[in-house]
């Protein structure tokens, strides 16, 4: 089946079974490798993308379920005010170590501050506990989200 997907503002075609997870359409069919595979069961958050602005786990999202919803990935999240601030904060606070989970962390964090201008520690726990980081960057992620919330849109 051929699916027409709206990704990062552009239309893309993919000829796959409808139960194919969006993750593999992005990575293997369309060549957008910024979104990462970590567990395949929505347990680690590495594959997080935005669907109409909401964070979803692309590893368990069948491509046939997406319809006309707009997908945003790590490659383009920097074009949104929230994504830009989160990326800036990640650099300012030197969050990243190996970096592999950070695409997913940044997608979850961007969605958080897009909907919540001043997230509390509990808000951060709720939004970010689905994203595992084995390098252990959690403390810096927490600080960077708070830092991003202070940045102006111009950043």
């Amino acid at each position: 089946m051929t699916f027409s997907l709206k990704i990062n503002g552009a239309n893309h075609q993919a000829d796959v079974d409808p139960d194919t997870p969006l993750l593999w359409v992005l990575r293997d069919v369309l060549g957008m490798t910024g979104t990462k595979f970590g567990c395949g069961m929505a347990l680690c958050g590495a594959c997080t993308v935005h669907l109409d602005g909401n964070p979803i786990r692309s590893c368990i999202t069948p491509v046939g379920s997406i319809g006309t919803s707009a997908i945003t990935t790590i490659e383009a999240v920097g074009e949104t005010p929230a994504g830009r601030k989160i990326q800036r904060a990640w650099l300012d606070l030197e969050v990243v170590q190996c970096g592999y989970c950070q695409s997913g962390q940044i997608m979850s964090a961007s969605a958080l501050i897009a909907s919540n201008a001043k997230p509390s520690d509990t808000d951060i726990d709720n939004a970010m506990s689905g994203n595992i980081c084995r390098c252990g960057t959690y403390g810096r992620i927490r600080a960077a989200i708070k830092h991003a919330a202070q940045l102006s849109d111009a950043n």
């Binding site: 993750l23 595979f37 970590g38 490659e75 170590q97 970096g99 592999y100 989970c101």
Partner: protein, 726 residues
Amino acid sequence: MFTDRFAEGHGAGEPSGLSRRNFLKAGAAAGGGLILGVAFARGGMAQTAQEFAPDAFVRIDRDGRVAIIVCQVEMGQGTYTSMPMLIAEELEVPLSQVHVEHAPPDDRLYANPLIGFQVTGGSTSVRGFWKPLREAGAAARTMLISAAAQTWSVDPSTCRAEAGQVIHAPSGRKLAYGALADKAATLPAPSHAALKDPKDFKLIGTPAKRLDTPPKVNGAAKYGIDTRLPGMKVATVAACPVFGGKLAHVDDSKAKAVNGVRQIVQIDNAVAVVADHMGAAKKGLAALAITWDEGVNAKLSTQDIVDQLDAATQKPGIVAKQEGDVEKAIKGAAKIIEAVYREPLLAHTTMEPINCTVHVRKDGCDIWVGTQVIARAQAIAAEITGLPLDKIAVHNHVLGGGFGRRLEVDFIGQTVRIGQQVDGPVKIIWTREEDIHHDIYRPYYYDRLRAGLDDQGMPIAFHHRVGGPSILSRWAPPAFKNGLDGDAVEGADGPYGFPNLLIDYVRQEPPPGLLVGWWRGVGVTHNAFMVEGFVDELAAAAGKDPVEYRRALLGKAPRARAVLDLAAEKADWGKPLPPRSARGVALVFGFGSYIAHIAEVTIDKDGSVEVKRIVCAVDCGTVVNPDTVKAQIEGGTIYGITAALYGEITIKNGRVEQNNFDSYPALRMNEAPAIEVHLIDSNESPGGIGEPGTPGAAPAIVNAIFAATGKRLRKLPVDKDLLKSA
């Protein structure tokens, strides 16, 4: 420690044989510019100019960019920033102008200065390259100044280097390094170039921004798993779930019918589904009907391994360290304390699942992978294909976590075997389940500890019998000497001084097919839990404060005492906490660094443990990038907390019982404590920093649990059922 056991003369206290002279040789780079080779001094057999075989290269291109080509790979530890800092400091060039290139596979040209072959591990990058890279930077700077002085026909002493250019102050003339590189390449490398006095450092010791971060926040960084090639297929694999078992039969009729599946490949112990994309490969794999020949381990359970260790450690082992007479001292002791401490098998679960891409052809083979041991990747491909080494190209990548897992090449060999049957390039990705079922695990350790206390409760005898397999005997056989595995006993007496000491080692291998290997903090992580838990028991038996008790054992270890004192001060040691909340301490020396962890925990009524705060004090000698040091201690500590609270691989019917992050959990944001890292200001040689954050986390937590509940846990992970309140 494991990393220091290979190259003779490169002991922990003398990183990279620093008193000996490293050789430098200069020449023209293939594409223009200056290339400088560095050959590390080795033991008593320093290389001569005739047999010069460099271990690292520094290249200055015509555009002024500086490349370091070394064995080290970036896996999150920050080495692709700290090594450029070493060069930039002496070369007088902006850090942004320096980068690291992945070295091609060649153990002879690109050896790790501490280990002797091409490997990243054991917290060796800064320790090993601290002097050679600064020497190379200083030599290149001297040559560039000479080249400029010749160009201008002036005395070199009237020129200076600054920010990537040579300046002739009297005339105000300037030439950029790039413009001088070709001329400098015609000059001999100086036999000696003076290094800066540390007080003149401008970069070393400052929190430099990491050079590898920008492409990691926008999806641009390419890991091995991101490899894409024209015509490439994607495959996933199932190896026999029972260790050592083989593939008996596969019915692939349903899998072949899956849209996008192209080929089913069988090798002796595994089957792979090759497809257009991973979604189809996974679906195809699920549709296979596989019959395994389970072999001799079909009934194996964790308890079998424990029973074997229990029996083996009843008898004395190989003596690793002996001071005084433990048996005699124990006979005269006022009190004898004995305990068995146990640590489980552990998986690594790097966030980037195991993967490898190959293109095997009749006349050659290409491999795209992220590996800590690139020359071993090349060697295993040569062994399997029968191709000569020079026909096997390995393209290395940044690693999505290593932690020791990518010190192994099992999956690379598997991919090559599968790739031999595929026409064109193929990328193998293990599912997370496959990763957990077929890791090369941190061994099960089963240690017996015994101490004799005097009438003041202080230890007059300390006996640590280590029981476990030898990783070195498989991974680096020449380093396994006289039956002793130096890694297994690393840190087995902690940083302490005991008047009578015995460490012996009982080697007990797991059943064939179950492989064990390196895991973050290696031998020190294993022994820190045993020793720090037991020393805490001794303090309790003596009725003494755990910090004060340790202090009293550190008369000859002032650096250890200083980190202990600093951590105690910063953690408010001794300040009362609510009921079922307490602090625990652990003190560790390893990789040339000292670290104290103080954990503050609260135990809920259901027995679950909340780690609320961790305070670390670290003395890792001279600090290159303090922000990276802190990040590594923070992250290493989180890795250790995960193991303390959750980490356990168990085996039933020859199979690993855990599958994914649901049954093999990792610490998450809502559980992560605040971690403070305090650094001791030091001019000592740099210590390692990637490994040392992990070992102290678990013992600090179990010691805090004891302080909070009176329950002494001698087995990991923490069993919350034992901690329920009545």
